[in-house]
Subunit: 123 residues, 2 copies
Amino acid sequence: MSAEKMAEAVNAYIDRLSNGTAEEIVDLYADGATVEDPIGAPIRNSREELIEFYSIITGLDSRKADLKWVKIAGDTAVFEFTLVTGTADMSFEITPIDIMIFDENGKVVSMRAVWEQSDLKQL
Amino acid sequence: MSAEKMAEAVNAYIDRLSNGTAEEIVDLYADGATVEDPIGAPIRNSREELIEFYSIITGLDSRKADLKWVKIAGDTAVFEFTLVTGTADMSFEITPIDIMIFDENGKVVSMRAVWEQSDLKQL
């Protein structure tokens, strides 16, 4: 798994957070991948749970993710991004750092998101 | 394990990289902790291997670590720092992002360092 391919996958993730369906986001994950978002929350590890999780985002009135930086070594990418989401009444911005581990096919096998309540701001 | 305690441990790690012995650095780790630095390198997991690893840094003529930022969630701290090291002839600066996972006693059970050759600069 090359650093270039991992960077492409991270960019696809950010793009799909803005424009994709929950299924398209989850297609970036390997079967049996685990998602812990934020770290400390219950771990999601079935395709159904992942789709349910990302449907929360894709079901909002508006959403826009922007990659701030990505750093890659071996099988792991660490990246920071902002996600601005909106409903009819309110907008929120969150700035997580995600840790993604990839398999040899370029699929994500583990994602752990580092953020706390103070990273979530009402705009 | 509170976020405050983890932040203290990260600060102690940075301080000991500048001023501590290899043993003092390794005292921040739990028994059986794993160190993968950089990610992709062989995993070190005995106290002897960890001391050998950190002795490379503590044996240099000069060393100075500075924390750039730290972000914490659940049992995990992610932080970026610069480490400037010097020998008689040369100085190097490296800027890793480390991912540390803690146990309930505040000891590090896993450290994975994200950096590549391009993060290592001769000054």
